[in-house]
């Protein structure tokens, strides 16, 4: 039996998950990183991407994360996500719509700040589509 550690995923709207897991693979700012039990204390920011969780029963679960933070301390991982959706429950049509809007905003060329925001929105939308379509596997 692999050793377990506690994983909690919070988003502003709800607590998505809080249970013991075997491993977590998260899209860190400097590339995907894996966390197992007894990981050293760590704080990292996350980019939009795929979050894979191996649950206590060995099952894999996948979520689309749109950015946030991962904190690991005392064998307890806390993931603060802007949004976190199970890949099965992603609304692909809505993601396509979001992508279209983001592209439109990018083309309209407003101030520099807005470009950065639109790019971030675009990344999130593309990520959700990719995972929602099942291509992320």
């Amino acid at each position: 039996m692999a050793s377990l550690f506690k994983l909690t995923i919070h988003t502003p709207e709800s607590t998505v998950l809080s249970e013991d897991v075997i491993s977590v693979t998260a899209p860190g700012a400097e590339g995907y990183l894996g966390v197992l039990a007894h990981h050293a204390p760590l704080i990292t920011s996350l980019t939009p991407g795929k979050l894979s969780i191996r649950k206590a029963d060995g099952q894999m679960d996948e979520y689309a994360v749109s950015g946030g933070f991962l904190e690991v301390a005392d064998n307890h991982a806390t993931l603060l996500a802007d949004s976190c959706e199970h890949t099965a429950s992603i609304d692909v049509a809505r993601a396509h719509e979001a992508e279209r809007r983001a592209r439109q905003r990018l083309h309209s060329r407003e101030s520099a700040v807005n470009v950065a925001r639109a790019e971030a929105a675009l990344k999130r939308a593309v990520n959700r589509q990719r995972l929602g379509d099942g291509k992320g596997k």
Binding site: E13, I43, F69
Partner: protein, 286 residues
């Protein structure tokens, strides 16, 4: 002296008022359940945020971040989170009283960001300077809405239009209990964060760099605070309304009882009088 017909009319009108307050009470109760859940579910995220921030705030990068910078205060901004609708007891008047107290205590000019129609109307009437207006928020105001407000406040702060941003909202304690809170929103105070977070004195591996984490963390932290404030205010509004409408319904019930009593007495008096007249008339004929 009210006639029988007047009283009957009165009873009818109180009855329909009672029906309305009763309905509003039930609607508020239903909405309250959802609102409370949202307010409570936002807390773990906010606490987690504070924890991460607390773990990092002692680093040099933290102290250098613009959102941490304390400047000489020449101009302040105040975010007032009120409701769009009235009929919720003293909810908004308590909030406005706190706003007045705050404004009276200031020595520098204050500009306002108003959230909710009530505070927008109130402050417009008093010809106050309003920099941002966020009214008619959807009932399920999501993180994006809060982001819009936080972003404007942060932009104004970072670009030097204001030197401090404060926040007034109603904190939800329980259905029967809520409290108007005044807090400093920007600059983010390192001490407050450290005080709130359980101190974990360990060396975290920071990825990518502390600066970059801060760059990502602080705006989110600010958004979260606004989001939590809105969620709390929304829950408070509905609990206030539920209680106000509950007591209005009760009062209407009592009023109906007294009016019914008066009506019955008047009717009895009229019958007695009529009888006396008939008897008197019969006597006169005999």
């Amino acid at each position: 002296m009210a006639t029988l017909r007047d009283i009957k009319r009165r009873i009818k009108s109180v009855q329909s008022t009672k029906q309305i307050t009763k309905a509003m009470e039930m609607v508020a109760a239903a909405k309250l359940r959802k609102a409370t859940q949202r307010a409570l579910e936002a807390r773990p995220y906010a606490n987690g945020m504070i924890e991460v921030l607390g773990a990092l705030s002692s680093s040099a990068a933290a102290q250098a971040h613009p959102l941490f910078q304390r400047r000489e205060v020449k101009k302040k901004a105040l975010i007032v989170v009120s409701s769009d609708r009235g009929l919720c007891g003293a909810y908004n008047s308590n909030l406005m009283r706190a706003t007045e107290m705050y404004l009276k205590a200031q020595t520098v000019p204050v500009t306002l960001y108003v959230v909710g129609r009530k505070s927008a109307e109130y402050n417009t009437r008093r010809k106050r300077e309003i920099a941002g207006r966020f009214t008619e928020l959807p009932a399920n105001a999501d993180f994006g809405t809060a982001q819009g407000i936080a972003r404007q406040a942060m932009d104004d702060f970072l670009e030097g239009r204001v030197d401090e941003v404060d926040l007034i909202y109603t904190h939800f304690i329980s259905t029967a209990n809520r409290k108007v809170l005044t807090e400093t929103f920007l600059p983010i105070s390192g001490e407050a964060v450290k005080g709130a977070a359980p101190q974990k004195s360990r060396d975290f591996i920071l990825e990518p760099s502390p600066e970059q984490i801060f760059e990502a963390l602080l705006p989110r932290y600010a958004n979260t605070r606004i989001y939590v404030a809105i969620a709390e205010a929304y829950a408070s509004e509905h609990s206030a309304r539920m209680i106000a409408m509950g007591s209005a319904t009760k009062n209407a019930g009592e009023m109906i009882n007294t009016l019914t009593l008066t009506r019955n007495r008047l009717r009895q008096a009229a019958i007695t009088k009529e009888l006396a007249e008939i008897v008197g008339g019969a006597d006169a004929l005999a």
